[in-house]
């Protein structure tokens, strides 16, 4: 039965089968040279496709061995599996059963075929299939015997000839096989496929064997011709260095090798022995398994060579310079020493001095984990720096070009800034309008930082699934804890070589979350979820590991968790106090008026409008000067509204706010002590600078719009000359300010993460003294309410830098915290406002409690045994 007949046969039985056309996707990537295959011929002498796959000596380039392997099994699921239809005892039943067994590479396929032959001894297809099965399972002698039987009953048939040649090939009778194929004009791939009885899944194997027969057969035939020529007259007396001839064993094999298919099979003692063996010990045929196994496929192993500078090759010169030649040779030899032990990225880092455990972690990720790891350091130990170092190292070594960083939306900007400032890695971000206008062009960029929420949208996820990334980094990776979530599915589908997952709290509610994360990194590390549950989880207690040591052993292969204990980080004690300044009547009245106007405006405004209202309130919370400037800008846009014009006039009359006096009092206390004053609004900064000058308080000014040298000069002046540094939000980012231990928040950002970042400027490794934080708020303002929640309810100022983010994570994921604050503040009635803030408090308290629980769980689960040391 040829290919066309086979197809007709399949169609008649409702089976869809494609003719093999070559390698699978990606199999043509080999530029020059070889395509070694996993588990290939080097250590495998078997020609059995089930055990060994393709052919060792195939030199075919159009269909590389790996592609052949893929083709071998590519359509395996299209073979009828189970239950096998047809009545038992009919040839249809047995043919389909044998095909199914062959497709599943069952070692019992031959026994099944033999059983089928007993049931239907006259069936042509079954007989050929049985012969194919015998060859494929490494019993070519039995195959030849079956083919002989076929010849006697059904006469000449091209399919039989092809199978005979394959069987002879398996017996290393390559010359004989090639002669047979040549005689029957079946030496080409196309002709062989035309007459091949096997399914598409076996076609690749057959083509591999055919390639061997062609190469080794031609070689064998040439050797034979030469021996014949040498045996003839005219050569005996010549002064010839005769090549070694084949030994008697080979000669004997040749002489006993029959000339025709029938003879060779009949003459094979091995075949007889095999037949007797089969007859004497019939293999018991157990019923097929009810549940078919998943066909096992092989991953391709591709290797491409490229000569980078062929045009540069010099073959001659004018004046030899042996010394320079030796120097160049030594230079190149030295460059070979750049193993992962020496991190190339260290000198390339800017404004960051990595800690020893971070360096060790980066090394370990590169050498041991080979770029697939969960970085689960405790909060505040600098996972971002570790990930950045790994990224930079891969880039410097030419191992990574395309990078994708997925983060919560609120951290996209922070990642972009850190990557650019500390590692010199410029990335596009999902804030770029290009994401909306031309998503394909956006994702095609080589380095992208995207919010995971944007990336997981269906249309974006589809685009991403088609791209290949060298490195994918997922920050706050505990968001991937649910296997059915869109985020998990997105990361799971991404084509990536290296994968870094970052989370300080990988397990929050159940050990299954850890299972899911680590399965992303190394699918199958914990086997199936069911098995994981039974081995590692206590029934009914999802957070309690059943086999802690074994679990840790497995985790060590994919996870690093540095702890403060390991890093020997002793953070200084921190003291925070809030100074509530009582506003004078006019300031309070203006603030109240502003609040009323904002509430009125908010009731009918759109999103953009809300943003300007938020800005107005935040400015008013900073200082009257900032409030006046913000209101003036608002009035410019709404010139007809008399209420706003009146408010502007009143606000401008306020010379100074209540907080200014409090600040001056603070600065006057212990005047020699360095004090870092954070101000968000530039108008407030200018006003305060003027005020300090007037009060003759020496200070330095540091703001985001200054040039690098100006900033350096400001920090230097603060360190060496003046006691006060007036600083905007970006102030001191990346600069060492640990010589200062007092921080004054002149205005309070609504987002606690921003407050934490300010604290992080002085409360960091290297700070030896206790840290003092003073928060200045005007009583009755929105900042006053924010601070009450953050300070009094969740004790934010006691938290380690980084923990606020961990607590706010869930809340922030749904809605920005400052938006929640504004929503609460804009409630129409006092009672509604109180209720809204109470709800926010409850939310935060719950988040804090949950975080504490998770922290304890992770500490208990991971201990100190997963560190990089």
């Amino acid at each position: 039965m040829g290919w066309r007949n086979l197809r007709r046969f399949r169609q008649a039985h409702g089976l869809n089968l494609r003719k093999p056309t070559g390698g699978r996707r990606g199999s043509d990537n080999i530029a020059v040279g070889v395509s070694p295959r996993v588990g290939d011929d080097r250590g495998c002498q078997s020609s059995n496709p089930i055990r060994c796959g393709g052919d060792a000596l195939s030199n075919r380039r159009r269909l590389p061995r790996d592609a052949t392997e893929q083709t071998l099994f590519a359509n395996i699921e299209q073979v009828p599996q189970s239950p096998v239809s047809g009545h038992k005892g009919t040839s249809v039943f047995w043919v389909r059963t044998v095909r199914a067994a062959l497709a599943k590479r069952s070692p019992r396929a031959l026994a099944i075929a033999e059983r089928g032959l007993k049931a239907c001894p006259e069936d042509r297809e079954l007989l050929l299939l049985a012969a194919l099965t015998a060859t494929a399972l490494g019993d070519p002698a039995r195959s030849l015997e079956l083919l002989q039987r076929y010849g006697k009953r059904h006469g000449a048939d091209p399919s039989r000839v092809l199978l005979t040649a394959l069987a002879l090939g398996e017996q290393n009778e390559y010359g004989q096989a090639l002669r047979l194929l040549s005689t029957e004009k079946m030496i080409t791939d196309e002709a062989a496929l035309e007459h091949f009885i096997g399914d598409a899944v076996m076609a690749g194997w057959m083509l591999g064997r055919l390639g061997s027969i062609r190469t080794l057969g031609a070689y064998a035939m040439m050797r034979r011709d030469t021996r014949s020529a040498k045996a003839g007259p005219g050569t005996a007396g010549s002064k010839t260095m005769a090549p070694k001839t084949a030994g008697p064993k080979a000669a004997g094999r040749r002489t006993t090798a029959p000339n025709t298919v029938g003879q060779e099979a009949a003459g094979s003692a091995a075949a007889k022995a095999s037949a007797q063996r089969v007859a004497a010990k019939p293999q018991p045929v157990r019923p097929m398994r009810a549940v078919p196994a998943l066909p096992k496929l092989e991953a391709r192993f591709e290797m491409a060579f490229e000569i980078a500078n062929p045009d540069a090759i010099e073959i001659d010169g004018v004046e030899p310079d042996a010394a320079a030649f030796r120097l160049r040779a030594e230079l190149v030899r030295l460059s070979l020493f750049e193993g992962f032990d020496e991190l190339l990225c260290l000198p390339a880092l800017q404004d960051v001095e990595p800690h020893w455990y971070q360096v060790e972690t980066a090394r370990k990720v590169l050498k041991q984990y080979r770029g697939r790891v969960l970085l689960a350091d405790e909060v505040g130990l600098g996972k971002t720096v570790e990930a950045g170092m790994v990224l930079k190292e891969y880039m410097l070594r030419g191992m990574a070009e395309r990078i994708l960083i997925l983060t919560p939306a609120s951290l996209v900007g922070q990642w972009r800034d850190e990557m650019a400032a500390k590692f010199g890695i410029e990335c596009a971000t999902s804030h770029d309008p290009l994401l909306r206008s031309d998503p394909a062009a956006f994702w095609a960029q080589p380095r992208v930082i995207a919010s995971i929420a944007a990336a997981r949208r269906k249309e974006q996820a589809e685009l991403l699934a088609g791209l290949h990334y060298d490195v994918v980094v997922v920050d706050e990776a505990h968001h991937l804890r649910d296997q059915s979530s869109a985020s998990y599915q997105l990361v799971n589908r991404l084509q990536k070589r290296f994968l870094l997952l970052l989370s300080a709290t990988p397990v929050q509610n159940s050990l299954l979350e850890l299972y899911n994360l680590l399965t992303l990194l190394q699918p199958g590390i914990f086997k199936t979820q069911k098995e994981f549950r039974s081995v590692y989880m206590v029934p009914g207690k999802p957070r309690e590991p059943a086999n802690r040591e074994r679990l840790r052993d497995l985790m060590r292969g994919v996870m690093v968790r540095n702890t403060r204990a390991l890093a020997a980080l002793r953070m200084p004690r921190r003291h925070a106090s809030t100074l509530r300044a009582a506003p004078d009547a006019e300031e309070a009245a203006c603030y109240e008026e502003l609040t009323a106007l904002v509430r009125a405006a908010a009731s009918g405004g759109d999103g953009g409008h809300r943003l300007s209202l938020q800005h107005l309130l935040a400015a008013a919370g900073s200082s009257p000067g900032a409030a006046a400037a913000a209101i003036a800008r608002y009035v410019e846009r709404h010139p007809r509204d008399k209420r706003w014009r009146d408010l502007l006039a009143r606000t401008r009359t306020i010379a100074s706010g209540a907080k200014e006096a409090a600040l001056l009092r603070l600065l006057a206390q212990n005047p020699a002590e360095k004090k870092l004053v954070f101000v968000h609004h530039r108008d407030t900064l200018a006003h305060l600078a003027e005020r300090l000058r007037h009060q003759k308080v020496p200070f330095a000014l540091f703001s985001g719009d200054m040039s690098g040298p100006q900033k350096d000069a400001a920090v230097e002046a603060f360190r060496d000359q003046v006691p006060v540094l007036l600083c905007t939000e970006s102030g001191g980012e990346g600069r060492n300010l640990q010589f200062c231990n007092t921080l004054i928040n002149f205005d309070i950002p609504w987002n606690p993460m921003a407050i934490e970042q300010r604290i992080g400027r002085i409360d960091r490794i290297g700070q030896l003294r206790e840290v003092f934080i003073f928060n200045l708020v005007t009583a009755g303002t929105i900042e006053d309410s924010v601070l009450r929640i953050l300070d009094e309810k969740i004790n934010m100022f006691e938290l380690v830098v980084g923990e606020v983010g961990a607590i706010l994570g869930e809340i922030d994921e749904q809605q920005d915290f400052s938006t929640l604050v504004l929503d609460a503040w804009l409630q129409g009635t006092e009672q509604a406002r109180a209720e809204a803030f109470a709800k926010l408090e409850t939310q935060l308290l719950a988040a804090r409690r949950e975080y504490d629980g998770v922290k304890q769980l992770d500490e208990a689960l991971f201990g100190n045994e997963l560190d990089a040391a």
Binding site: T215, I313, D316, F325, P347
Partner: protein
Amino acid sequence: MPLDDNRMQDFAADLLRHEDALVESIEPDGLEVLAPPDVQRALGVGELSRLGFGTTLPAGAQRVGLEGDWLERFGRLLGSEGRWTRRVLDTEGKAPGDPERMLEHELVLDNATFRLLGAAPVWTRYLLMDFRASAVSDDKRDFITRLGINLATGALPDAVIAALGSFLDDPEADAAIPAEAELPPMWDRGRVTDLVGKALPRRLDVALDPFVRGLRRRLVRDQDRLYRYHNDLHNEAMGRAVGLPEGDPKRVREEQRAEAIGREYRAKLDDLSRQYATRVTVEWVQTLELVMPAYRLSVQVRRRKADRTIALDWNPLARRLEPPVCEATAGIERPRLVCDDALHLVVPAGLAPCAGCGRTYCRACHRGGCPKCGS
């Protein structure tokens, strides 16, 4: 691979001296350099500077090491120097013992006969080209590989070149070329680069074997783990399905799940393939033209009624006969067959039947593909 003590320092000192800088050693592990303007520009140092190479730096010294861009700076300083040189080695008239026996040992042709026509001392010329290769997968391996061509015979005598290494390391070994010596002509660049393009991948393949074996081992491990995992999932789903009656929506769902598991398995395998895909980039570094005496064997190869004379050199320093190169593949395997038309010496694959039409043809005669079907 650890770097020997002082190796970097010695190199830097040699290089700086070569570029006319005044160099003095200072303690501990440092150099004080008085650099001319070109050196200052290339290295980014001042006129008088101190370079430190150890863990403790001399006062006022800059740290120089493998980390950072110091190798790049040194490369800048070296510029295009050291790309080519010529060495001449003398061998004091060493000659092979029994050329016929040697030939019998080195040359094995299965479909042709050959005979030694004669042997004579000659001078020959080799091009020894060094390449820096980087194999990048989820790991990286860098190494230097050397390809040598005997310009007289076209041989690629890897074993001979390796054996010459110790002689080449001796800078005092240079000799003069006798006036009467006739050197083989220099090849044109195109011929050299063609041969390099053909011969190099096969040699890189051998050099990379341990690295590739490691990759494959891990690939097989990951692949097996992947299979076990998905097979278990698949069995779970199918196990649930077979317990349900045909057409039951739950059964359909389980079967769909099993199919999805199969799809994911294939996708993960693709992912694995990409993870382990290896790109080998080779960069030519320098070429040494080596001139030295040899002993040339003239060999007649006979196939049917045609014959051809080839030359094989015996290298007196390596004391080895250089085997002929496969004219089809330029590979490492020795040619064992001779084609009918031009009597090319090829490996079996070079004379195998075409996969497209089945015609046997010589790949050295027909480099563009099968003369019958063009495939």
